[in-house]
């Protein structure tokens, strides 16, 4: 019941041919469709719905919206009421308005990011099918990413002006959409300012994350790989394709994931994220990272935030 998982992300790109080279040849996503407006739809080989990435041609980089899939159509009615009762404007859009999806709920998170919830999307199927499947398909390109794993959204944080959109977005996700808080970063003189959160609906450490920054935006969207060796190989592929890498293979302290941060040709940050981290469950106690160890939380080995972490990102709306 309720939200199952991340459904898709709609990313704006400045140069579609360059973007496709990146998302297809480097990440290894599979193109499933293209519409008359020039939007291109892609999925990972291990995903069954029609798309998890929608690329839209635009003159500014960033994210248009992010969408999560709910389990049953009736969940949309329940959640619509809960969103409205919370005091957030919510609109129901008819089937097809969200491409290849059934009816959907459209609303803005307190952080200013546009979110959709939907229950149905056109089915395509995994590349290996469902009858006696092979463990992976032949002909994968690049990193051969399995699926869109999560997104990290930047939220405005300015404690001196009393602004904390991380805390507001987290509260909304928890109280309205039943996301569980798995990890958080607490900062400030009294350690009482929630500066970043990692939240889940699946049994992974996060299906969405919020980090405080000077302004709201899209920090990254992440694609799943199995394990450390796949991460190394993905980095080799990026080097081969002269992809701008932000952070070379490393471990996150938070979520324990194995990561690479890199940029698509429009400057939107991507991540390849491997390892399942740990099993997250409703009764798992919340993990807290303090300001002193925050660098280690993000980049476990160097223990330092790189300069780009909170300054380099694209628009979130």
């Amino acid at each position: 019941m309720g939200v199952m998982r991340i459904g898709h992300i709609n990313i704006r790109v400045l140069d579609m041919p360059a973007a496709l080279k990146h998302y297809e040849d480097v990440l290894g996503l599979i193109r499933t469709d293209e519409d008359s407006a020039g939007n291109v739809y892609l999925k990972g080989w291990d995903e069954w719905d029609k798309y998890s990435v929608m690329l839209s041609p635009a003159d500014r980089a960033g994210m248009n919206h992010i969408a999560y899939k709910v389990e049953n159509d009736a969940d949309l009615d329940t959640l619509k009421k809960r969103i409205a009762d919370y005091g957030t404007d919510v609109e129901e859009v008819p089937a097809g308005q969200l491409p290849y999806c059934g009816r959907a709920l459209r609303f803005w998170l307190p952080s200013g990011h546009l979110m959709y919830l939907y229950a149905e999307k056109d089915f395509v199927g995994k590349s290996v099918g469902t009858t006696n499947p092979e463990p992976w398909p032949d002909g994968l390109k690049g990193a051969g990413a399995h699926w869109l794993d999560h997104a990290l959204l930047m939220c405005e944080l300015d404690p001196e002006r009393g602004v904390n959109k991380v805390a507001e977005a987290t509260k909304f996700m928890k109280e309205v959409l039943d996301f569980r808080l798995c990890e958080q970063v607490m900062v400030g003189p009294d350690g009482d300012i929630q500066a970043a959160t990692w939240m889940a609906r699946t049994s992974t450490p996060h299906d969405i994350a919020f980090v405080g920054g000077p302004k709201m935006g899209l920090h990254h969207c992440a694609f799943f790989l199995d394990e450390w060796n796949d991460v190394l190989k993905a980095a080799d592929i990026m080097a081969k394709h002269k992809v701008k890498i932000d952070v070379t293979p490393q471990r996150h302290g938070i979520t324990r994931g194995y990561t690479i941060y890199f940029f698509d040709p429009s400057g939107n940050r991507n991540e390849t994220f491997a390892g399942l981290g740990y099993l997250s469950q409703p009764d798992m106690p919340v993990i807290t990272w303090t300001e002193e160890e925050l660098g280690r939380g993000i980049f476990y080995h160097t223990g330092e935030l790189n300069e780009a972490f909170t300054t380099v990102y694209t628009e979130g709306a």
Partner: protein, 114 residues
């Protein structure tokens, strides 16, 4: 100086802020050449024209630009010479001002990320 489209040419770029010069091939973007100076504090981010940290203003000379996010350089600004260094390829000697700034070092952040 007139624009020269020969992609094999190498041009001299002048950073007015620090009064430094560097060479940049016509096929290499201005930010890449700047980074080869090996100096700290050069605003370098996505190298895709999306994040805006490498914003510069071309004071003189010719560059060829490729797509830049309008979130960071409006059409009006572009006419005034503003551009993103990672999207500019020199077509003559160029003189520029650095406009974008990376947020200062970690120790200046008072609340972890900000």
């Amino acid at each position: 100086m007139a624009a020269d489209m020969d992609p094999t040419k190498r041009w001299t770029i002048h950073i007015r802020d620090t009064d430094e010069h560097y060479d940049c091939d016509a096929g290499q973007h201005l930010l890449k050449g700047m980074l080869q100076l090996g100096r700290k504090g050069i605003p370098s981010g996505c190298h895709g024209g999306g994040c805006g940290v490498c914003k510069i203003r071309i004071v003189s000379g010719e560059v060829e630009t490729i797509t830049m996010s309008r979130a960071h350089v409006s059409e009006e600004e572009q006419q005034q010479g503003y551009a993103l260094a990672c999207r500019c390829f020199p077509r003559s000697d160029v003189s520029l001002d650095v406009v974008g700034k990376m947020q200062k070092t970690v120790c200046k952040r008072r609340y972890g990320f900000v």
